[in-house]
């Protein structure tokens, strides 16, 4: 089966592309893909440890089983919104 993986922010810069298609064995999980990406792009290690994961635009846990055609995105820590709200969260 094939899934589409998209990269944003620091992950996009490390991987050097916006997206790619991965061919996986049936029953592959998000955690399996994480491991695959770390083999392919070792520099992702520190940021991957702090990233969440979304499948088809919803947050999911690592044990989630992927289906053909899924869109997978690893979500690095977010700093959006504005600078002021940084103060509120501290």
């Amino acid at each position: 089966m094939n899934i589409r993986i998209r990269y944003f922010a620091s992950l996009r810069e490390i991987v050097g592309q916006n997206e790619e298609t991965l061919t996986l064995h049936d029953g592959a999980t998000v955690t399996d893909v994480r491991a695959l990406l770390l083999t392919r792009y070792p520099r992702l290690q520190p940021i991957m440890e702090r990233s969440l994961c979304a499948v088809n635009r919803s947050y999911v846990p690592g044990e989630t089983i992927l289906r053909d055609g899924d869109e997978l995105v690893f979500i690095p820590p977010m700093g959006g919104g504005c600078q002021e709200s940084l103060l509120w969260s501290h």
Partner: protein
């Protein structure tokens, strides 16, 4: 009204957002506007670069607004977030909440910006005089 959600590369238009939530039944309008500051953590910031996972961000913002509606009954909300390169002083995010009375609008607006920061996939890169980095909120 249906919540107004904008994710755009273009400069944000505060007046248009306020007009979108205005209504004769409204007694108070709260606006939160986040702007690009020239300094952060003792660095001199030159400009910011925002990246967004637009399809998911819109969905997450919709969820946040729905929760604000459930908690405070606010019915007239607009949220706009800009992405791409933003210069010092430009608005990165504008939230407008209009309600019959002020208390609900103030609380809902605070909730929306605080939650947006933690759950909406929008990232910010600070480009400073001595280098650049993706900020982790």
């Amino acid at each position: 009204m249906e919540p107004l959600i904008q994710l755009t590369r273009e400069p944000l238009n505060r007046e248009a957002l306020v007009a979108a939530v205005s209504h004769p039944s409204v007694g108070g309008i709260v606006i939160f506007e986040g702007v690009v500051r020239d300094n952060a953590r003792n660095k001199q910031v030159r400009y910011l670069e925002y990246d967004v996972y637009a399809e998911m961000a819109e969905q997450q913002i919709r969820t946040i607004i729905a929760e604000a509606q459930r908690r405070w009954g606010v019915e007239r909300v607009a949220v706009a977030h800009r992405f791409g390169r933003l210069e010092i002083g430009e608005a990165s995010v504008i939230i407008v909440v209009a309600t019959p009375h002020r208390a609900e609008a103030l609380e809902a607006c605070r909730y929306i910006i605080d939650t947006l920061k933690t759950t909406v996939p929008i990232w910010k890169k600070e480009v400073a005089t001595d280098g650049e980095e993706w900020v982790e909120g």
